[in-house]
C-alpha cells in the first residue's frame, strides 16, 4: 500500500465490501464506547485515512502484550486493524533479523519523522546506565530516547511500560521504570493491564486514526473510555456487594451462589479497566465470572499492593452509574450508561446517526 492510498481504496482492491467494513466499524464503536449509531461516521473517516507508520519497541517484558494483541479476534478482522497501520518494526513479529532489522527501524524513522506512532511494551531498566536490557548492543533507555524524539505520540502497552509493572516490583534490581518516567515531552497513552485487553489496544489505534488525535485520558494517562470506571462498578456481582452478600472462602455457599468476592481480596473497587464488560477470550468470561477476585493488574504497583487475597481496607465508593439504574429497574438504563461511560457530549445523541464532529466534542 502506498502512502497516498487511502484505507478505503485499499479495502476495495482487496474485495472487502463496505458492508463488511461497516460491520468492523460497529465492533470498533462498541469497543471505543462511542454511541452505537456512530459506526457509519467511523467508517467514513477511517476509509479516507492514510495509514501511519508504527514502530513497536519491546523492552523488559514477557511478550504477553504482543500475544494479547495478536490473539485478538479472528485473523481476518485482526488483519483489518493491521491494514490501518504500517507496522514497520516489531522484533518479535518481523521476519528481518540483525542489521537489516535495525535498518528497517532507522528507515521507518527517517521516512516518517515526526509522524510515526511509537508503541512500547515492557519497562525500561535505568540502573547502571541501563545495561540490564539491550537490543543490538544498545540499551533500552538509549533506544527509547532516540525513537521517541521523532514520534507523533507514544502508546505504552501493558502495565510494565505504563507504570513499571513487575520489573519495577520490589526490590527492582534493574531500576525499571515506566516510559513516562523517561519521556516528558510527548503525548503518552498508557494502556495498562497484565496483559492489556486486546480490544483496548486496537480501540486506541482506531480512535487515533478516526479522529486524528489521542483519546481523552484519565489522571494516569489511560483512555477514559476503557478505564473510566472500576471493575467493581461494572461487575455483574455488584448488587451482592450492595446487599452485603459475600463469599467468605472459595468453596462456601456464597461462592457457589456467585456472591461478591470483596472479602476474598478482590481489587475490583480500586481497579480501572474494561474486563467486566469487554471480557476475555472473545467475550467468554473474566476473572470474577470465573470465581476469582480481580488482582488489580491495570493499576500502578499492583504487585506490591499487599496480598491478592486480603480484602481491601477501604470501603468502595458510591456506585456512580449504570448498574444502579439497572437494579432499580428504571427507564434510564442501557443506552444512557453506555454514553456516560464514553463521557462524550454525543451522549445525548446516542440514538441519532452521529458525525465525527459530534463525536469529537
Amino acid at each position: 500500500m502506498t502512502a497516498h492510498e487511502s484505507l478505503g481504496e485499499r479495502l476495495i482492491q482487496q474485495g472487502i465490501s463496505r458492508r463488511a467494513f461497516l460491520k468492523f466499524c460497529t465492533a470498533m464503536a462498541s469497543m471505543m464506547a462511542l454511541p452505537p449509531g456512530s459506526a457509519m461516521a467511523i467508517a467514513d473517516a477511517l476509509s479516507k485515512t492514510l495509514r501511519p507508520s508504527v514502530i513497536w519497541l519491546s523492552f523488559q517484558e514477557c511478550t504477553a502484550c504482543t500475544e494479547s494483541l495478536t490473539r485478538s479476534y479472528s485473523p481476518t478482522l485482526e488483519s483489518l486493524i493491521f491494514e490501518m497501520i504500517s507496522l514497520d518494526y516489531h522484533h518479535t513479529l518481523q521476519a528481518a533479523a540483525g542489521f537489516s532489522a535495525e535498518k528497517s527501524r532507522e528507515d521507518a524513522m527517517h521516512n516518517a519523522y515526526g509522524k510515526y506512532l511509537l508503541v512500547v511494551d515492557g519497562a525500561i531498566p535505568i540502573k547502571d546506565g541501563g545495561i540490564y536490557s539491550t537490543i543490538a548492543g544498545r540499551t533500552n533507555l538509549d533506544l527509547l530516547q532516540e525513537v521517541a524524539k521523532g514520534a507523533a505520540a507514544i502508546i505504552a502497552v501493558g502495565t510494565c511500560a505504563s507504570f513499571g509493572g513487575i520489573p519495577n516490583a520490589k526490590p527492582n534490581p534493574t531500576g525499571a521504570v515506566a516510559v513516562s518516567d523517561i519521556i516528558k515531552d510527548k503525548a503518552i497513552v498508557n494502556i495498562s493491564g497484565c496483559p492489556p485487553i486486546p480490544a483496548v489496544i486496537t480501540g486506541v489505534l482506531a480512535h487515533y486514526l478516526t479522529f486524528g488525535e489521542l483519546p481523552e485520558l484519565d489522571d494516569l494517562g489511560r483512555p477514559k473510555s476503557f478505564y473510566g470506571e472500576t471493575i467493581h462498578d461494572r461487575c455483574y456481582r455488584r448488587p451482592f456487594y450492595d446487599q452485603g452478600k459475600f463469599a467468605k472462602t472459595f468453596d462456601d455457599e456464597g461462592a457457589r451462589n456467585g456472591w461478591c468476592l470483596f472479602e476474598l481480596g478482590c481489587k475490583g473497587p480500586t481497579t480501572h479497566n474494561a474486563c467486566a464488560t469487554t471480557k476475555w477470550n472473545g467475550g467468554t468470561s473474566f476473572p470474577i465470572e470465573s470465581g476469582h477476585g480481580c488482582l488489580g493488574c491495570s493499576e500502578p504497583n499492583f504487585w506490591d499492593a499487599g496480598s491478592f487475597y486480603s480484602a481491601l481496607s477501604m470501603p468502595a465508593g458510591a456506585l456512580k452509574l449504570g448498574t444502579a439504574a439497572a437494579v432499580a429497574g428504571v427507564a434510564v438504563g442501557a443506552a444512557v450508561s453506555v454514553a456516560n461511560r464514553a463521557k462524550k457530549q454525543a451522549a445525548q445523541s446516542a440514538h441519532r446517526t452521529a458525525t465525527i464532529a459530534d463525536l469529537k466534542e
Binding site: A27, R238, R256, G291, V332, A335
Partner: protein, 132 residues
C-alpha cells in the same frame, strides 16, 4: 474427604432485563413518533450469567430473520416486537464481535452501501465488455 460439587449460579437476574425493556419501550415510542433510530450496545452491559439468554427469551423471535456473510456471519432477527431488531455480528471463528438491539424500520447494515453498488456496477460493466 468428600466435597460437595460446586455449581456456578447461573439463573439469577440482577435486574438488567427490566431496565432494558423500559429502554426499548422509550426507543420504540421515539421511532414511531419522531422517526428516530435507537440502538443499545449489549456488549457494554454487565449481564449476569443467564441474563443475556433471558433477554433473548423475553424478546423472542418475529417474522424476519436475515443472515449476512461479510468477514464472518451476521445474524439479524426481528424480535417478537416489530421494529425491535437483534443484530449480532460474528467473526469467522464464530465469536461475537458486536451485539446490539436496533430499534429501526430496517437495520442499517442490511441496506446496500453506495460504495459497494458502484464497485458492483463497475464489475458488471467490465463483464459486459469482456463478452463483446
Amino acid at each position: 474427604m468428600n466435597f460437595p460439587p460446586i455449581h456456578a449460579q447461573s439463573t439469577y437476574s440482577v435486574g438488567n432485563i427490566r431496565a432494558l425493556m423500559n429502554e426499548i419501550v422509550a426507543c420504540l415510542e421515539k421511532l414511531d413518533r419522531d422517526d428516530e433510530i435507537g440502538m443499545i450496545d449489549l456488549n457494554s452491559l454487565p449481564f449476569s450469567p443467564g441474563e443475556y439468554e433471558a433477554l433473548r427469551q423475553t424478546l423472542g423471535q418475529g417474522e424476519v430473520s436475515i443472515r449476512i456473510e461479510a468477514i464472518g456471519p451476521s445474524e439479524i432477527i426481528e424480535t417478537h416486537y416489530p421494529g425491535v431488531w437483534w443484530v449480532t455480528h460474528y467473526n469467522v471463528e464464530g465469536d461475537i464481535v458486536a451485539d446490539a438491539i436496533e430499534i429501526a424500520w430496517l437495520p442499517q447494515i442490511i441496506r446496500s452501501q453506495p460504495e459497494d453498488v458502484r464497485a458492483g456496477l463497475a464489475r458488471l460493466k467490465a463483464q459486459l465488455n469482456d463478452q463483446d
